[in-house]
């Protein structure tokens, strides 16, 4: 976006608007991320315990002694949420980078008309 045609007063005003919008966008992004990871990772509401899957996670084969030295991994549902969050942020960042490139290109094309 190009705000160079604006007066300083207008630019200051726009900056406040942008700040507020970024806060709003961040919050919307946050809650949509929670919803997304919830929907992808949590499907079983019929079992008794909330995290019944956790039990199956601790290694079933006790002869494998290496597990004792490894840090205990979080339960799968939780791991799914962490990966989902992580991946979404990286996805979002990559889209942002590509978006900025294409947008700049488009602006340039409009200028040359």
């Amino acid at each position: 976006m190009d705000f160079s045609a604006m007066s300083p007063a207008e630019q200051a005003h726009m900056n406040r608007i942008i700040e507020r919008k970024q806060m709003q966008d961040f919050m919307r992004m946050y809650s949509s991320l929670v919803e997304r990871c919830f929907n992808s990772c949590c499907n079983d509401f019929t079992s008794k315990a909330l995290s019944s899957k956790e039990v199956h996670f601790y290694p079933p084969n006790l002869r494998d002694r290496s597990v004792l030295t490894k840090p205990i991994a979080p339960p799968p549902q939780e791991q799914c949420v962490l990966n989902c969050t992580d991946k979404f942020l990286k996805h979002s960042e990559r889209v942002g980078a590509r978006f900025a490139e294409h947008n700049a290109e488009m602006m340039g094309a409009n200028m040359n008309k």
Partner: protein
């Protein structure tokens, strides 16, 4: 989740910034609530609609679903703080004046 409580309000007037923050917090809570309603409806309520009451299975499912949503909310919040994901980094960018 509380943005309030920094500094005390002037006796008579309105601290615009404080009101704005409270409004944003309100929006956030409403947004989350609506998403829970929608997600848990999709996960728990049969769309056959043979009757108008919640049956036992649906009721239990709703309770677990809401509890789980709060858990996920907490996990995502912690993860994002750990990553230090700033608001700006995830936006379309290019908004500087």
């Amino acid at each position: 989740m509380s943005f309030l409580g920094r500094g005390s309000a002037p006796a008579g007037g309105i601290n615009q910034e404080r009101v704005e923050m409270a409004t944003q917090e309100l929006d956030m809570i409403t947004d989350i609530f609506n998403r829970i309603v929608s997600s848990c409806h999709a996960k728990c309520i049969s769309t056959r609609y043979a009757e108008g009451d919640l049956n036992k299975g649906e009721s239990v499912c709703i309770d677990r679903c809401v509890a789980k949503f709060f858990e996920v909310n907490k996990k995502v919040g912690e993860k994002m703080q750990a990553v230090g994901a700033a608001a700006g980094s995830a936006g379309p960018g290019g908004f500087s004046l």
